[in-house]
Symmetry: C2
Subunit: 385 residues, 2 copies
């Protein structure tokens, strides 16, 4: 096998574009100097466009979880009650953070592979008027479900004053996000998914309503204090030492996104999702989620006539291609294909053609070329729209 070839098709991290790798290898600069301020000044408006907000998007040096914790400690005051929508293992993470802070937390469990119905959150909040904050994933990475965040936000607003805090880690940058228009109160994401960067940066923004809450919240915090971050970013700086090389990369990533056009970026992600789903449908290999609940960034597959772990091992051995496993109770029954960030329709054609071989080698029934053909048809029809 060709050595030194790794084809990363997991739901994050994604491959890094060459120009971003080059940007990240620039010589270090002082983080209190003018060059860093100029860079942050260039980044700020572009980051706001990706979030769909006029609010400041703050840049934390930390992984996605640091931003989830930032949301919890800034928004939920001591003694307040929260609710967490759990559609998979990343929903659970919000619950664990709340638990670590002894926050009274309701768990709204949804069957893995399904999204939450907006009516369900409405009913829940009518029964639980004490809830001050609702946490939800946007894309649930562990299942490939995209929760209907805009609809959840309006359902919540109809019956409650609770703030909606959204974990967009595995989709923002690849899926349209209109934070202000949809009325999302806190939105969080990380750098290593649709942002095409290594892990190490996290981004967070808050609505006016949320900022009021944050300002009045006496819960102790320091590194993760959103007010400190906002006071600094509006002056094109950061309260603590930023990961400069990742900022170099972020600046280039945002340039690439604007060069392609945000609408085009989102259309490319939808196209890759449709190509992937249509391929497995054509091959008769069951998908975990319905088309309605599916995320444009990650697809979960639940094979019935071959073993997912065997298949994944074959893909790695034969093609150097990394396909993710399922998580927790789905660890051995599901595999997940990332199609986000630095990933193209041509990459999906490759992944699908290679996966057909992988399925055959894993003992699954497969009509060679049929999945590729379905994906090609989607691609060709897309062009005709």
């Amino acid at each position: 096998m060709l050595t030194d070839q790794q084809i990363l098709r997991i739901p994050g991290p994604t491959p890094i574009p060459p120009s971003v790798n080059r940007a990240m290898s620039q010589p270090m600069i002082g983080h209190r100097g003018e060059s860093t301020s100029d860079m942050i000044s260039d980044i700020r408006p572009k980051l706001k466009r990706v979030f769909g907000t006029e609010q400041e998007v703050m840049i934390l040096t930390g992984s996605g979880t640091s931003a989830l914790e930032t949301a919890v400690v800034n928004v939920v005051a001591p003694g307040e009650t929260a609710a967490v929508i759990v559609t998979g293992s990343f929903g659970e993470r919000f619950a664990k953070i709340c638990e670590a802070y002894n926050i009274e937390t309701h768990i709204i469990e949804v069957t893995w592979g399904e999204a939450l119905e907006p009516s369900a959150i409405k009913e829940f909040l009518q029964e639980h008027p004490e809830v001050k904050a609702v946490f939800s994933t946007y894309c649930e990475t562990s299942t490939g479900v995209l929760n209907p965040i805009a609809e959840l936000a309006s359902a919540i607003k109809e019956v409650s004053e609770a703030l909606l805090i959204v974990d967009g880690v595995s989709c923002i940058g690849g899926v349209e996000t209109k934070m202000d228009e949809w009325g999302l109160d806190v939105v969080v994401t990380g750098s290593q998914k649709a942002f095409m960067l290594p892990a190490g940066l996290a981004f967070i923004a808050a609505s006016e309503r949320a900022w009021k809450k944050i300002g009045a919240n006496p819960r102790p915090r320091f590194y993760l204090d959103m007010k400190k971050h906002r006071d600094n970013i509006i002056k094109d700086t950061t309260p603590f030492t930023p990961a400069i090389s990742l900022l170099f990369g972020l600046q280039q990533v945002l340039r690439l996104m604007e060069e392609e056009g945000l609408e085009e970026v989102y259309a490319r992600h939808r196209l890759m999702m449709e190509m992937t789903r249509s391929a497995f449908n054509a091959l008769g290999v069951p998908l975990l989620t319905s088309g309605e609940d599916a995320s444009p960034t990650v697809t979960s597959v639940q094979p019935t006539d071959f073993e997912a772990p065997v298949f994944r091992k074959i893909m790695k051995q034969e093609f150097g291609m990394d396909i993710a496993g399922g998580q927790q109770h789905m660890a051995k029954t599901v595999f997940r294909i990332g199609h986000m960030g630095y990933c193209s329709p041509a990459d999906m054609l490759q992944a699908i053609a290679a996966m057909e071989i992988g399925i055959a080698k894993a003992g699954g029934a497969v009509e060679l070329g049929k999945g590729v053909r379905a994906a090609q048809e989607i691609y060709l029809n897309e062009g005709k729209r």
Copy 2:
């Protein structure tokens, strides 16, 4: 379209492996220091294995043509007659170099897309006993023909004392070469093809027989004087300043080749050729060369129901994929796919799936998925051998 993605499927340069790019970005070192000598000492035996020779393989700082010229000026003495086997545009280059030196040169023309029959060179030399040197390409890059070099060498030896000088630029490193066993007198290649490096280095080795000729040859030469190069490389150094970053890269490339195993490298190239050829056969798109004459490193396609230039433009626009055109009189009727160097079966699955779309968009008749299926079947059968 995803910006910053370029999929290079031309017959050289090929993509560079990431570890080779990293190696090439090491800080400069002095080329007369111990580190450079250690590096050349590490490179020498590995380069000999790729050439299949016990002779020294000399490293020139220059492109492939510098090594072709090196062969001419060192091997052909003033007043001697040469013959050049021309199976395409790179055969012609040898003839042009001979012409520049006013060397009396016979041209043995072969129809583009075909290899030379060993019997033909035998007959030719019987009629032309004055010929002292025969020049031939191994792989003719412009057509994707692999000349039967071992057979040509023995045919020549049967009837003549003429030296055989081989241009292996677009195949050595991807195709087995047994210089000593086959009796090749001078073998030349460049860095940017199956060696997976940028252009800038060229390699040349000579047989005992050729060295005698070289030693006695009074033709003036300096930078390209093979004797100067040999006197230095045996002391792990070079007569002139070498391209150090390319040497860093060469050292890593040779490590990768040995890690994979040379036999495996050659098998991978044959597999990629078979996958590509079977795909076009299944799609009913004519290939330029027969299976017998085909090179494992490049495939030429001669479509009848769509325009090659239109197709190539579509491939670039849709997928950022570079497919080469034909050369000279075949510029507009042929396209060429490189499958050498840093290129894998997974890359060929991608290229084939994408090319099916390209053919459809160029107006060619194509049954989607059929070429991919044929390639997948080749891949699966290969594994069973």
